[in-house]
């Protein structure tokens, strides 16, 4: 049956409610890009999500529409998802400073006691 709608445009389109149209094939929605947004000059570009696009130029256009709808953006980057090489969350511990590497932390350098002792000795 042809769809009869309150919206005259839909009725005019003459759509059959038994239609099997619109079924998607692989790649019908293109491939994905990762989006990086810079909110103001002087700040870092930050990853904000991903989108589908057929090429980089359209990806930038879609990124503007999807991720920068209310100002708060001065610059956008898009990168093909397949071009990103990332670490694994499983290896998260490679980023923790191990206890034996304390010599790289500023707070282990405590010289005041030594200076005070030195001064006391000089004055005695």
């Amino acid at each position: 049956m042809i769809i009869k709608s309150l919206d005259p445009r839909i009725t005019r389109a003459g759509i059959d409610d038994e239609s099997k149209d619109g079924i998607q094939q692989p790649m019908d929605q293109w491939h994905t890009y990762e989006v990086f947004q810079q909110k103001k000059r002087g700040t870092h570009h930050v990853h904000v999500g991903s989108l589908h696009a057929p090429d980089a130029e359209l990806a930038v256009l879609f990124a503007k529409e999807q991720y920068a709808r209310r100002g708060q953006c001065v610059n956008l980057w898009v990168v093909k998802t397949s071009d990103v090489f990332a670490t694994e969350y499983e290896d998260e511990d490679i980023f923790t400073t191990t206890p034996e590497k304390k010599y790289r932390e500023p707070e282990v350098y405590k010289v005041m006691d030594r200076i005070q002792a030195f001064k006391a000795k000089q004055n005695s």
Binding site: D21, M27, W30, T32, E34, G49, F62, R70, Y89
Partner: protein, 329 residues
Amino acid sequence: MYGNAYVENTGNINSLTAGEDPVKLAEFEARIAAGEKIEPQDWMPKEYRRQLIRMIEQHAHSEIIGSLPEGTWITRAPGFRRKLALMAKVQDEVGHAQLLYSACETLGKSREDMINDLINGKSKYSNIFNYPAETWADSAVIAWLVDAGAIINQLTNSKGSYGPYCRALDRICAEESFHLKYGHDNVVFLATGTPKQRQMVQEALHRWWPPLMHFFGPSDKISQHTETLMKWKVKMASNDDMRQQFLDMYVPKIWDLGLTVPDPNLKKNETTGKWEYTEPDWEEFKRVINGDGPCNKERLAVRRMAEEKGRWVRNAILKKDAQYVAPLA
């Protein structure tokens, strides 16, 4: 725009954690208990993945289908300013669908599969969009109260455990506040206008009240499944709690305008602090959600037409060597 109607469809599974590695499961649950987010590359229980895919996918479909009852009023909006604002709102909703489809894809379901499941009727979307927007006042009530319900649901879910979904919801909530203000403005304009305008908005409110009461879904069954989903921070609040929050925030605003809702039993019990109401007709809810509502066929048929008519454009600009990779985050 999305209601919390379908989280409880766990079928015949005995346990959500059956067959999972106990050590990995314990680590996973400890991470969530510590308030950390789960990222796409992390190990996760099969049921966690399945429930999230269904939930985010339904949310995405709800945004895209939800733009139809409102979109129908763009050409007939009273005045240029309202037309522009409604176009912006509908664009926002379609944009939200894009963000949510991308978040869902990080869990391993392709966008094409999600669209196919929508148009074949396998995936659900928020039941409220199976009702028609008969007049301009209906579009005002939708923009105010359906979006109000959606904000309650989305703010609640944005505290969940899955990183990509939470991040998408944070962006979405920021845009929804304009929808709410725009909708309220339209309702107030009609409610403080001529007797005819007041009558229009009152009638629209009566039409939309039953689906609004359905919006958050039936009372949750207390079950092991619900407890596990709450522990995994997939489900963040009970349907009844969100319905109470909605009534508490918006019924006083409705009454303030001298408008009524079609439920003589609706009142706040000052002792318990809870709202009392006539139990919504859940038989109607089930009937409509399973396909027999006033607009189910139209919604899916319009979606099919849009996919079909856009296909040649999408194919014309597709690069031959392009390959799909699931988005990172």
